[in-house]
Symmetry: C2
Subunit: 285 residues, 2 copies
């Protein structure tokens, strides 16, 4: 975490960044957020994240009270004030100080935090990760809510079996991981990602766009049968890019070895991020 946070438009010392306990995010878990990566002081793909943030707010009936442009300025101010070079930005919006402890207030509460996070090491990318199947249906998956009760509650179980995260399934269909989208590859040339009841990740979208020129790309529900015939699997997220998945419970994919598609797409993602940074620098000159 950094020295300064932003609470309702004001930049304050992190230790003074507080909300009253009548906040609906706290009382009723009524909140949304978005998370983006900062590289060399540049908030990557901030426009995409703020657009999704706006959509999440709308779906929850919450008013942000700031335009995308104003939010961008707040974020840039906070990066400057913290002399923040690399890490993550989290923007949270809650139902505000509710009068009856249930219905959202007229004014939401908006918080912006800068955080440091661990990127998986080169070794993890080279070895791939294990996931743990978990039967779970994500309600209102089109909204990036703050509700992470299920995977946090399972943190010890994950640790026990050496899994990095859960892999949700419901009614025979595999949807996503708790903080990443899930992809499989068939015959090394067809990329499939789940489409129902998943959060439409910004990196997911970037992966699909970039993959189109090199692979056949399909968005459809992934069944266990699909999984069994996969030659490769990977996750996508803002912090991970694309990360190989080599084992799901006891089932090994590609004999437990990462494939070639995930590293290839990760290179394409990195190139695209580099271009974004160059464009961003030119723009603010």
């Amino acid at each position: 975490m950094s020295n300064y946070f932003c609470v309702n438009g004001k930049i304050v010392l992190a230790e003074n960044a507080k909300l009253q306990v009548t906040d609906l995010g706290l009382l009723r878990g009524y909140g949304i957020f978005d998370f983006l990566k900062v590289e060399n002081r540049i908030p990557l793909f901030i426009e995409d994240h703020l657009t999704r943030f706006q959509n999440s707010a709308k779906e929850m009936g919450l008013k942000i009270g700031y335009s995308v442009e104003e939010l961008k300025i707040l974020v840039m101010k906070l990066i400057a004030k913290n002399e923040f070079k690399n890490g993550g930005i989290k923007i949270i919006l809650t139902g505000g100080y509710s009068k009856d402890g249930y219905l959202p207030a007229k004014e939401s509460n908006l918080i912006i935090l800068l955080t440091h996070f661990k990127v998986p090491s080169k070794k993890v990318f080279a070895k791939g990760v294990k996931l743990m199947l978990h039967e779970h249906f994500r309600h209102a998956s089109f909204v990036k809510t703050t509700n992470y009760i299920e995977p946090i509650r399972l943190a010890n179980d994950l640790k026990k079996v050496g899994a990095m995260d859960v892999l949700y399934h419901w009614d025979g269909k595999i949807s996503e991981s708790s903080r990443s989208n899930f992809f499989i590859v068939k015959k090394d040339k067809t990329i499939i990602t789940s489409t129902s009841h998943v959060l439409k990740g910004i990196t997911r979208k970037r992966v699909l766009d970039l993959a189109k020129s090199h692979y056949k790309v399909i968005e459809k529900d992934i069944t266990f049968r699909d999984l069994k015939s996969a030659t490769e699997a990977f996750l996508s997220s803002t912090t991970k890019g694309t990360l190989p998945v080599v084992q799901i419970d006891d089932f090994k994919i590609n004999n437990g070895k990462p494939g070639k598609v995930s590293p290839h797409l990760n290179e394409l993602l990195k190139k695209q991020a580099k271009k974004y940074k160059n464009d961003f620098k030119k723009m603010i000159k």
Copy 2:
């Protein structure tokens, strides 16, 4: 709301009752609570509520840091300090100030609030209420989490159709309302309440115990077929006692009129509460 709240054991002015924004209840919706009624300064059935609170904490891997007896003392202190006669008490426990913004901290945050709430009017009890069916599966229903995203998101829809609350169903089974348990009556003498994927309410338990001497009582999944043959339906909750349900979407129960079982049980609940209050007074003398 009242003048004083309790934050981590300290009684503070409500306006100063704050948590830092790194609290996991806020960042990840990782929190539990319990809610009980205060009548004439007496916290009704506080032992039952604190036992459930302890269970919720355990299921979420959270340490309360206070024994049931210590919590009871904090509650009584807060009631005295506020000169609080009638209303509600909410006790909240969150994952604390998380270091990585994801995993619970070693120390949880504990908040106690006194609130005023609206009891349904005599007219509402006499007329009964309407519910709106909503397809929803409550995960980890055995834990009283702070997650109320779904019903709050639907508040406007409820208002539009004149429904007091949602009635959750999933896979052909009716489970519960967002803040109440659901009961049906068959042939005016058999009481049925849902048992799978519902929060086991304190009032639900009291209703089942009291009803046993007067009716046949069954705990089982309620199907739509059961609903169609019901001669009466009602909700149970701490604030409502038992409240008649006369309409679900367009379907009317008992021609849209409350039955006799719900008011009967409500009288029994009131008698039991009166006894509790008398015993409580004797105990603290």
